[in-house]
Each structure stands twice: as structure tokens, then as C-alpha cells.
């Protein structure tokens, strides 16, 4: 939350200014789409540690942060990359090796937790997950939950509907019990969008996923974007702008900032990278090599792009103007 008028930062500055070791951060996008990859890479570059991460269904961004050892704990619904990773590789590896603490919720529950955070209320009710281990099995134990102030004391609380009127019950359950999921209010949310103005008003093209709720729920928001545009351009279509300026702290101009994930209307995901990444991410040694070569070995996202892609690859994934993706791109 920042009501200033010029919020333009470089990514180096923004990450330095707003992300600290141990912060609770929330990451926008969905599996292979609009992940704030440039920002995730910069977090890795600046060697941020002990992050507590919140995501609903995030693939690439979360996986690289985890692989780099930046993440201590994660609360998440799904970590996969569709056809490119049934389960994200670093995520899988680190949990199996006991190096990452995880707390599981459903996708809707994570969305509701961000929504509750954005609304300034402590929880949201749902009928999802009744009877499942999402309710019964807790990843974080009570000691951690009591100790660490920013973590909710309870993973989930069950509650009887106080408005219950048996006569009007439209569904078949014999009691009317709700699952309350706790609000999330991250220290920082990082998202990548197509357009923003210098005051922070942000426009997402295509699906917004839970980015808007994630941003509103957060104390600070870093927006990386394909284009920084004039305020008046955004004002022509107010209904298309998703995040008001006063929710945003830093606006960073990063073309192809979601690469290798897709950015609707700008570029597709890169199937070549994602296939290549499979082999890297299953092996800690190879992953460290990848980090040294491509992340620590480059100063910023533009150097990273130059090193990892070439003109042809960039051309291959360029989005068609009409459909918003790369028509006929080789994806096998």
C-alpha cells in the first residue's frame, strides 16, 4: 500500500527494498502462465532466505525458488506444470528429502484465503474438503503455529452454520457444518502483468487467476510488467484494470518478465525450456549448475534471456495478435 505517484523501480531495487529474509510472500500466476519469473530470479540472485510462500497452483516460479533454497515453508494447493511436470521437480525432491515444510489446501481454499485477506476479515467459510485429510492432517505443527506470529494458529476450523434452518436445506447433508479457512496477508506479493502505469494501476489481460486478491491481501506489492503505459491509456477502459494504484508499491518494467511461462497476448510458454528444465530440476547438482550459469551468472532478466534463448526461440513463442498465443508452435 503506497499512495505515492511515481513507483518505478528497477527489479534489483524493488526486491532489495521490499523483500527481506524470512518474509511471507505470495506469488501470482498459475502453473505455466504469468509467473513473475524475473522477480523470482532476482530473489534468487539476491540470495533471499527462509521465505514462507503462499500460492494456489503455481508451477515454475515456486519451483525455481524452492530449488534455489530460498523457501523454508510453503502453503499451496498444487505444484505442477501441466504436461511439462505432473509434480514440480524441485518441490517434489525437497519435500521428499525433508528440506521443505508444506501445508496443503485445495485450490478454492487458497483462493478464499487470499480473498479473506483482501477483504480484511480473518477467515472465509466453504463446504470444500469435508471428510478429507486436508482437514485432518496438518503439515505445520502447533508449536510452529503458536511460535511464528504470522502463521495462523489453526490450519482449518470447523463450525456449525449458525443460520441453519433445517426446513430449507437444499442439499443432502445431515448437518450444516462449514470449513473455515484462515485469511492470508503476505508481507509481499509479486505478480507479473501486461500493463501498468507509473502510479501502479495494473491491467491484466486474459485470466487474472487470484492475482488481484493476492495483491489486495498483501502489505506490499511488486508488479513487473511488459509495458509501462500512460495513466490515460488505462483510464479509457476502467473495467479492464484489475488493481488500483494504491495497492501497489513498486512498478518494474520487465519485458518477457514471465518467461519461460506464458503472458497472454505477448508470448507463449517456452516448451523447449520447460522440457529442458525437467532434466535440470530432478537433480540437485544440475540445478545448482543452472543457477550458477543462468541466474547468478547474469545481472538481470535481459541478460538471462540473452543467455538462455536466441532470436528464433523468442520468435517461436511470440503470441499471435488475434488469439494471444503462438499458433502452431511445436509443443511435443
Amino acid at each position: 500500500m503506497n499512495t505515492g505517484k511515481n513507483k518505478i523501480y528497477t527489479l534489483t531495487q524493488a526486491v532489495k527494498a521490499y523483500i527481506n529474509d524470512g518474509d511471507h510472500i505470495s506469488i501470482g500466476g498459475f502453473t505455466i502462465n504469468r509467473n513473475p519469473m524475473a522477480c523470482a530470479h532476482e530473489i534468487i540472485r539476491q540470495k533471499k532466505k527462509n521465505l514462507h510462500v503462499y500460492a494456489h497452483s503455481n508451477g515454475q516460479g515456486v519451483d525455481e525458488l524452492i530449488g534455489a533454497g530460498a523457501v523454508k515453508r510453503i502453503e499451496i494447493a498444487y505444484s505442477g506444470n501441466g504436461r511439462f511436470a505432473p509434480t514440480c521437480f524441485c518441490f517434489k525432491r525437497k519435500i521428499e528429502q525433508g528440506e521443505l515444510e508444506v501445508e496443503d489446501y485445495s485450490n478454492y481454499q487458497m483462493s478464499l484465503r487470499f480473498l479473506a485477506g483482501s477483504m480484511g476479515i480473518p477467515f472465509m467459510p466453504t463446504y470444500s474438503s469435508l471428510g478429507t485429510d486436508i482437514i485432518k492432517k496438518w503439515g505445520f505443527d502447533s508449536e510452529l503455529r503458536n511460535q511464528e506470529l504470522k502463521i495462523s494458529r489453526e490450519k482449518i476450523v470447523l463450525m456449525d452454520n449458525p443460520f441453519f434452518k433445517k426446513e430449507t436445506l437444499s442439499h443432502k447433508n445431515q448437518k450444516d457444518q462449514l470449513v473455515l479457512v484462515p485469511a492470508i496477508n503476505p508481507d509481499v506479493t509479486i505478480i507479473h502483468a501486461q500493463k501498468a502505469d507509473i502510479e501502479g494501476c495494473t491491467k491484466i489481460e486474459g485470466l487474472a487467476f487470484a492475482d488481484v486478491e493476492q495483491a489486495k491481501a498483501s502489505k506490499c506489492v511488486i508488479v513487473t510488467c511488459e509495458q509501462v503505459v500512460e495513466k490515460n491509456e488505462l483510464k479509457k477502459d476502467p473495467g479492464a484494470n484489475h488493481i488500483p494504484s494504491f495497492c501497489v508499491d513498486a512498478v518494474v518494467h520487465v519485458p518477457m518478465g514471465a518467461y519461460p511461462t506464458a503472458c497472454y497476448k505477448y508470448y507463449d510458454y517456452d516448451p523447449v525450456f520447460l522440457e529442458w528444465y525437467k532434466d535440470i530440476a530432478v537433480d540437485n547438482g544440475k540445478f545448482v549448475e543452472y543457477l550458477n550459469d543462468y541466474i547468478f551468472g547474469t545481472k538481470n532478466h535481459s541478460e538471462f534471456l540473452n543467455k538462455i534463448t536466441d532470436t528464433k526461440r523468442i520468435e517461436d513463442i511470440k503470441a499471435d495478435f488475434e488469439t494471444g498465443y503462438s499458433i502452431g508452435m511445436k509443443r511435443k
Partner: protein, 255 residues
């Protein structure tokens, strides 16, 4: 005699469950293909609804994930995730939604595990997690489950219940407070299972042409009734043609 692969039979068998005007809630992978095939074959006015919030997209290429930008093209609506799942929880709309989900393990009541193999706190194999599957299984009265038929997948007891099936007894869902019915069927590469009207236990309803029901029984880690099973009608020429030429011409999922 028409040649086809088990995967093709599987997709077509699932597609047949989708009726015209149904709203089909899709996850990643083979479930998208079944929904697309239904639209291309016999349910042109069914609406595909992606977990990511795209309603009734025009799918000119097969999406490789629910967040694939291909699902955004010429949709009728974009919803936030919170809005998307609410359509299922809301009984007015939820009752017209059919959900298609998968998992790594399933038990005889159709409870699904997509979280971990082994102990939750120290898993032998970590899986991706629920995603929207738990929500679909909680809210949608008509769920189709996709599974490869393997003994390690069809187990007596799943290691973690990620998505609720019929839980552990005939009225398990009502007792737990779930607001909709449990799964309708399990579509595998060898046959289709339903759940007994009374006991809610899984039984074999259809086996695929050339498959012996006893072979299916052997691939399942719990006792299953296969005596009520019939052979399924093999894929029609028109079904295969639509699937191969329209739904997945590049065979991105079919292979």
C-alpha cells in the same frame, strides 16, 4: 474392424457421459480432451469451464495445462479463481456441472489421493496436491474420475484422502456434511467402474472390447464385483474421426 488405442477408448467412454448443455469443469490433461471430444462428437452445446476461470473458450489448439493461454481465446467469460469454484459450490449452478478429475490412488469408495505416497509428514513420493480436485469432488454431484488401471493405484486404503469420494460408508458424505453426491464413475484404460447405488462400493460396469473382466479384477487392490459388467460399445467411426481430426490432431495427449 476399426483400430483404436486404449487411450482413445478411454477418452470416448468419458466423453459419452457428457450430455448436451452440460457444463464441464476441466482440469489438466486427458480430462480436457474428453470434454473437447464430447463437444466435437455429440454435445456441441456443452460448455467447457476451466478451473482457471475461462468459460466456453474456443479451443483451436489443445491446451497443455488449464492455465495454457489457449483456454483464454474467445472465451465467453473470464472468472477469478474464487468466482470459478463458487459456481460449483452454489447449488443453482453446481447441479448442472459435471467434473472430470484424476489422481494417483483411489479406494473402493472413490476417495482420491493426489497429495503423497507414504506418510504425509515424510512422504515416500510427493505428488502435486489437490489443485481444484478436492473442490470438484466436494461440490459436484456428477464426477468422472480418470485413472490408469494399476494395482498400486487401486488400493484398499489411500495414503491421504485429497478428494472425497463416497468416504467410508453409504451415507458417509451426508454425515461429513458434503453438499453433493459422490463420484459417478471411474474411467480407466481397461473398463469403467460405477459405485453401487446402496453400498457405494466400486463395481465394474463396463469392460473394453477384448479385455477380460478377471484381468481387471487382478489389477485392483481390493475386492471388486465384476459380475454385473457388460462389454462397452467400441468407439464409433464418427467418434474416432472427431477425436483424431478435431480434438487432438497433433496427438499431444493421445500419445
Amino acid at each position: 474392424m476399426i483400430e483404436y488405442t486404449p487411450k482413445e477408448m478411454m477418452v470416448i467412454a468419458a466423453a459419452r457421459k457428457i450430455k448436451n448443455f452440460d457444463i464441464v469443469f476441466c482440469g489438466t490433461g486427458i480430462s480436457i480432451l474428453a470434454a473437447m471430444a464430447a463437444k466435437d462428437i455429440h454435445a456441441p452445446q456443452s460448455i467447457i469451464f476451466f478451473e482457471t476461470g475461462a468459460v466456453d473458450s474456443v479451443l483451436e489448439e489443445l491446451p497443455l495445462a488449464v492455465s495454457d493461454p489457449r483456454v483464454m481465446h474467445n472465451a465467453s467469460n473470464y472468472c477469478s479463481l474464487a468466482e470459478t469454484f463458487a459456481f460449483m459450490q452454489n447449488r443453482n449452478t453446481g447441479k448442472n456441472i459435471i467434473g472430470i478429475i484424476g489422481a494417483a490412488q483411489i479406494d473402493q469408495y472413490g476417495n482420491l489421493n493426489s497429495t503423497c505416497i507414504g506418510d504425509y509428514k515424510k512422504p515416500r513420493v510427493r505428488l502435486p496436491g489437490s489443485g481444484g480436485a478436492c473442490d470438484v469432488a466436494s461440490f459436484v454431484g456428477r464426477t468422472i474420475i480418470f485413472m490408469k488401471l494399476e494395482k498400486r493405484k487401486f488400493v484398499e486404503k489411500v495414503d491421504y484422502i485429497t478428494s472425497p469420494g463416497w468416504l467410508s460408508c453409504p451415507d458417509g458424505r451426508e454425515k461429513a456434511g458434503l453438499i453433493a453426491d459422490g463420484p459417478t464413475c471411474v474411467v480407466t484404460d481397461m473398463g469403467i467402474m460405477g459405485f453401487d447405488k446402496d453400498s457405494k462400493e466400486m463395481y465394474l460396469t463396463y469392460f473394453y472390447p477384448g479385455i477380460d473382466p478377471l484381468e481387471i479384477k487382478q489389477n485392483i487392490g481390493f475386492d471388486i464385483d465384476v459380475l454385473r459388467a457388460k462389454e462397452i460399445e467400441p468407439p464409433l467411426r464418427t467418434e474416432l474421426k472427431a477425436l483424431r481430426e478435431k480434438s487432438d490432431p497433433e496427438r499431444l495427449i493421445l500419445e
